[in-house]
């Protein structure tokens, strides 16, 4: 395997993705990610010099809405699925600044 994924990398990606893997999962993740990256490295064979990265396939452009209020009070619906709620707000663990 050309791509060796370190513990630090898995730890770091876990912080970015907010995932906490068990020891076993971590080993598996290192292996999987390494082999996927080896596979993705195949793209390096292609010369893409001067090729514009294509994020959208079609020339669709300029899709706008007018600045008109269309939504009313939907609080009840919005909070319907909340795991924690208080005073019409979403309750979350204390945040520190």
């Amino acid at each position: 395997m050309a791509n060796i994924i370190s513990d630090e990398t898995i730890e770091y990606v876990g912080i970015l993705a907010k995932l906490e893997l068990s020891g076993e999962e971590k080993e598996q993740a290192k292996k999987d990610m390494g082999s996927m990256l080896d596979y993705i490295d195949k793209l390096g064979e292609l010369d893409t010099e001067g090729v514009e990265p294509m994020s959208h396939v079609f020339p669709v452009k300029n899709v706008f809405r007018e600045d008109v209020v269309t939504n009313g009070d939907m609080r009840e619906e919005i909070l319907k699925n909340a795991p924690g709620e208080k005073n019409g707000m979403f309750a979350v663990p204390r945040t520190f600044e």
């Binding site: 876990g14 995932l19 906490e20 596979y39 793209l43 292609l46 514009e52 396939v57 663990p93 204390r94």
Partner: protein, 486 residues
């Protein structure tokens, strides 16, 4: 004729002619669900009461002359990644185990306007990540042709439900083959429309630039009728396109004279099961006999589609799935210390292994220092792949090939080696990268008794040519019913 053997369009006609009531059709299909679910497990949620209630309402509208569309009164199943107001929508994930949306996706609303009866939500690979429907948090769906085999995925529940007579048609979504491949494995027709054809509003995103909703159904006529209903320009989806040429049923013409069909040699190389190869080439021969101009060509870049796809899809997925954090909806872990621990535990417990694998990969390829080498590189290769298709469609109306290298594998065979599973997407994935429409339909049965799929690929917004070609082939092939009929 047994109600369950009717096509969607056939049933709607029978309802219109008062040969069958909407309630009878709904009851018949609910009874079939009752009988078959233990064997196949196509659904995450079956809304029996709701379906019967809708059946009454739709019948009234039909009787009052308010509804007379080609699918009015026909019961449908919806893949569980499309929001349905008031009905559990889980994406087959634990993290959305209790999520009841407050609005319905645009495609579902369009079906309801056309008089559809929503039966329930079909099983899928968790967040549409998988090719077997085995990554569902709610159990494995089995292939109605042989329950020891997978139905394919990720829209495996939808495909199996159509094949098992547990619905008359279904909606699926296709990010890298998730409609076409299960359609192929289950012997039904599936269409992944051009990107932008069907509104993604209400579809819980996996890879936003690749996802597209489409039908899974019994024949090409149903496919055209469903497309006419779900292909709309939706102002709520910025990537939804203004529609032209949406009279898909007008393409139901048994004539392929002069139709230029290209067969990419690259699709028939190593890894393709000989039985699949033979069946697909035989289908090409049938079209040729009917007057189509069939020739082989080099599509190129085929082997680069999978790494390109997994880079882009994983990157988008890693971002799309950030919203599942235990705050606004869905699963929140029981015990935690502080905010970040709550995030990590909820997500780690809520997502399954395959989803975590792709989130990790996606986060990595976007992270500082790797973005250019992986993500941008993939977007550049995507541009090359698109160009290769543009060149092909300058010469051909339709590209013909297999849907998958093999027929449905046995349960449990695929998940052990993810990379091998990803390789199974080789013929479907580039269609999503290039935003093209792709249709899958049965073209034979292998020695194991499993259906073989034929894939037809068209240029952007050229679904009608696919439908015409598929219809002509279907006429020549003859009916391809359920397994019981063989």
């Amino acid at each position: 004729m047994n109600i369950l053997d009717m096509t969607a369009v056939g049933l709607a006609a029978a309802i219109k002619n008062k040969e069958v009531t909407v309630r009878q059709a709904t009851e018949a299909v609910l009874a079939q669900i009752e009988e078959k679910e233990a064997d196949f497990h196509c659904y995450v949620t079956v809304d029996k009461e709701g379906a019967l209630k809708q059946a009454e309402e739709v019948q009234k509208k039909i009787d009052a002359g308010e509804l007379d569309g080609p699918l009015a009164g026909v019961p449908v199943a919806i893949k569980d990644n499309m929001c349905t107001e008031g009905m559990l929508t889980t994406c087959s994930s634990k993290i959305l185990g209790n999520f009841v949306p407050t609005f319905s996706s645009e495609a579902v609303l369009n079906l309801q306007k056309a008089g559809a009866v929503i039966l329930g939500k079909t099983n899928m690979d968790e967040f549409a990540m998988g090719s077997t429907t085995e990554t569902s948090a709610y159990g494995v769906t089995k292939n109605p042709w042989n329950p020891e085999h997978v139905p394919g995925g990720s829209s495996g529940g939808s495909a199996a439900a159509v094949a098992a007579g547990e619905c008359f048609y279904a909606l699926g979504s296709d990010t890298g083959g998730s409609i076409r491949q299960p359609a192929s494995f289950c012997g039904v027709v599936g269409l992944k429309p051009t990107y932008g054809r069907v509104s993604r509003y209400g579809l819980i995103a996996y890879g936003s630039s690749l996802d597209q909703i489409g039908p899974l159904c019994k024949d090409v006529t149903d496919c055209a009728a469903i497309m006419e209903i779900i292909a709309t320009h939706d102002l709520k989806d910025s990537t939804s396109v203004e529609q032209e040429d949406t009279d898909f049923t007008s393409a139901l013409v048994d004539d392929v004279k002069g139709m230029r069909i290209g067969i990419p040699k690259d699709y028939f190389g190593e890894g393709l099961d000989p039985e699949v190869k033979d069946a697909v080439l035989k289908a090409a021969e049938v079209l040729k006999e009917k007057g189509a101009v069939v020739e082989e060509f080099d599509l190129s870049l085929v082997e680069y589609a999978i790494p390109t796809y997994y880079t882009i899809a994983a990157a988008e997925a890693s971002s799309n799935l950030e919203r599942f954090d235990g705050i606004k909806y869905g699963y929140r872990t029981e015990e935690y210390e502080g905010l970040h621990n709550m995030y990590k535990k909820s997500r780690s417990e809520g997502f399954g292994a395959e989803v975590k694998r792709r989130i990790m990969l996606g986060s990595f390829v976007l992270s500082s220092g790797y973005y250019d080498a992986y993500y941008l590189k993939a977007l550049r290769v995507k541009a090359l792949i698109k160009k290769a298709f543009d060149e092909a469609f300058a010469k051909y109306d339709v590209i013909l090939g297999p849907v998958a290298p093999t027929t449905a594998p046995k349960l449990g065979e695929s998940l052990s080696d993810p990379l091998k599973m990803y390789l199974g997407d080789i013929y479907t994935i580039s269609v999503n990268l290039a935003g093209l429409p792709g249709l899958s339909m049965p073209c034979g049965i292998d020695s194991k008794g499993l259906p073989i799929g034929l894939q037809l690929i068209g240029d952007c917004f050229n679904e009608k040519k696919l439908i015409q070609t598929a219809y002509a082939y279907e006429k020549a092939r003859g009916a391809f019913g359920r397994k019981e009929d063989k």
